[in-house]
Symmetry: C2
Subunit: 424 residues, 2 copies
């Protein structure tokens, strides 16, 4: 660090100093933090509760109670309004290119279906990577089977994730209808080279899942020429358990895209209850049923905080936080039999770091039960450490890794009941 | 009424007496009612806020804030638990036959797709009625186009809704893959003869939309041999704006049904992140993405109240409430140019009554702005009056119709700004 006479990342003073110099430090105060001892490194699974969200939900409930159905006047445009806010704060997209609705699974289904309709008739395959998030693989598998296509799975490097060369190989025969990948791999945290992969896939379209990237790294859909994307809001965007997801379709492509799940919220002059389906122009045609208002307002609050902090600053802090994890891994964990399960270079990582150990599951249990550290476990052997730049301090990372080290040194993970199933 | 010397439904004393004798009267206290002057007859669009729901959402938010991702242990089974509660309290179905998830639109898409996969290869049409709720028609239209099927629209009687003979006609050629109808028509409130229609459609399967019936009339899916159904929870089940919907699949049919939107919450051993899609047995395979927890808990609270009141008692009161509307319509509104837009016989109606008038829209605006009565409007000429047996009093119905009458007599609807668009 500039100005430090000695670089000792294992010293707590080092982390204290980074916290002191952190321009985002005050954002931690915007979140509910009941237990100051607890180190929460699972914001990449379920983000913390913003104070503003708690208030907003309370106001919404009051509004439902008093204004009743008349409140729909103010709720109707929530999916588009929240989509625009997401586009600006987290996606690097333009107004009218994103919309908040449904789950990531349903949104992936809708956009993948729409993209497949545009593919030439002689295509034969959908491409994804074998290590992609399960729901992505399942959705694509269902679409492939329904259409008689092959689901072509890339066996990517487990740490580095799918590379442009992998995509080029998979698309070489020119028979690919669609490529769908995650920008950040849920297990290793590898950050994909979006532009190079889009080029390698062409002319096949690429549909990106931003669930593990939006809010942690700059997504920059516009600048990178991304055509199609989906993502969730309950991780780095802090919108709460099962909050609505979003989808993005580049403006130029929108007129060609048909929503396979035609619903009344995507209908022109919706309340005229007209006789034939006639979708609204633009991304709103991907709305279907009545939108979940409480969830949408929670997304709006979460996104607002991300926008205020700024994705560039968040990314810089995220890289510094994960960089500290890597350094402490090397110093403390590697000698205990751990291996790094994530790319070592900051520019090739998203917001989380996986450390691998044969006893990963009992170690995870012991961390939670005895050390007040919450990571998450991804079988068979990965402990994911997901610092969230909005509320995780450098001292949190230091303390978590310190507790992890001493727990394994003491063999505490051999004393916990590890029969409990992993759930998240 | 037994024991009354005189039957004068236009007397307020008559309504007062019905309220006094109402065994469900105390349920009104379970809801937030800010303004005692307001008569809310739009519970068939958005039900009122239960006090218990307000508390439950507050507890959920607190749980998210303090337990963080560990709370998933208690959230994971919410879709199935709430589905079972719905099945028992409102659907007349067995445990394991219903699940709460997604929107009505998405659920209709999933079940209709699954049913179409089971149809013989020579089918040519999907049947619904031209007056069915827009989103139902749009979903079916999309499915029909994607599969090269005809969407065959029954031009039903606008008051009585589709009849068994209509369905028989539409299915006569034996080329129908699927029939999809609403049990209660959203506009006229006509109650369909479910069993006779199922017989008339056979061998085509029938998929029922219960959005306007569940919570107001006995649905009795099990007893009636219904195979497939969907519905929403924000009307008579009082779960809030855009709360999750549900779907029902008869147990015997479940093993044959495939979810077209394959997602990780429908996967066996979900958290093993296994390589291939392998759906859980039963109705849970129709889950897709991460479930919306706040919405599901709101459904649970709404359904609990319905279960406590009991659907038989709710239906009896609903019939009495709508019966009073019909009587007051005949006495007060018909002379002012209104026509009844709903079936006259109680056993052929669901929970709401439509009254029709050429100035329906300005009258609706005047009712809301000047008379503290909230109905809803369904173009071109219907005012829907939806009393909710859990919280609407007979005196509410009396007062609303009385205010409606005097407003039209005074011509107050000619003084409001009716340029505002109808939204719900």
């Amino acid at each position: 660090m500039p100005g430090m006479t000695e670089h000792d990342p294992t010293a707590r003073a080092y982390a204290v100093r980074l916290d002191r110099e952190d321009p985002l430090a005050s954002f931690r105060e915007r979140f509910v933090i009941d237990d100051p001892e607890l180190v929460y490194l699972d914001g990449n699974s379920l983000g913390r509760l913003p104070l503003a969200t708690r208030d907003r939900i309370e106001r919404l409930t009051a509004q439902w109670g008093s204004e009743l159905a008349a409140a729909w006047d103010s709720w109707l445009d929530a999916p588009a309004r929240v989509g625009d806010a997401l586009a600006e704060a987290a996606l690097g997209a333009r107004p009218g290119e994103a919309i908040a609705c449904d789950s990531t699974t349903v949104n992936l289904f809708k956009l993948a279906s729409a993209a497949l309709e545009l593919a030439p008739p002689d295509v034969r395959a959908i491409v994804t990577d074998a290590g992609n998030f399960p729901t992505d693989r399942y959705v694509l598998d269902g679409l492939a089977r329904a259409r008689g296509l092959e689901l072509r799975l890339i066996e990517e490097d487990p740490i580095d994730g799918p590379q442009p060369a992998d995509i080029e190989d998979a698309c070489r025969a020119g028979d690919v209808a669609l490529v769908s990948l995650s920008q950040v791999a849920y297990r290793s945290g590898a950050l994909a080279d979006v532009e190079a992969i889009n080029r390698a896939a062409a002319p096949a379209r690429v549909l990106w899942d931003l669930s593990h990237s939006a809010g942690a790294v700059p997504v920059e859909l516009e600048r990178r020429g991304v055509e199609l994307a989906v993502g969730c809001t309950y991780k780095y965007l802090n919108a709460g358990p099962g909050a609505p997801a979003y989808l993005y379709a580049r403006e130029a492509l929108q007129p060609q895209l048909d929503n396979p799940i035609q619903g009344w919220f995507g209908q022109r002059e919706q309340f005229e209850m007209g006789r034939a389906y006639d979708p609204v122009p633009g991304v709103r045609r991907f709305l279907g049923g009545t939108p979940p208002i409480a969830g949408l307002l929670a997304v709006e609050e979460g996104v607002r905080i991300t926008g205020e902090a700024g994705i560039v600053a968040l990314y810089a802090k995220s890289q510094a936080l994960t960089g500290l994890i890597v350094e402490l891994h090397d110093a403390w964990l590697a000698p205990l039999g751990f291996e790094l399960g994530s790319p070592r270079e900051a520019e090739r990582r998203g917001g989380h770091v996986s450390v691998r150990h044969p006893d990963a599951w009992p170690i995870t249990r012991a961390l939670i039960e005895r050390a007040k550290v919450i990571p998450d476990f991804r079988g068979p052997d990965s402990i994911r450490l997901g610092p969230a730049p909005l509320y995780t301090r450098f001292t949190d990372v230091h303390d978590a890794l310190d507790r992890l080290r001493s727990l394994v040194e003491d063999g505490a993970h051999r004393e916990v009941d590890a029969s409990r199933r992993a759930v998240t």
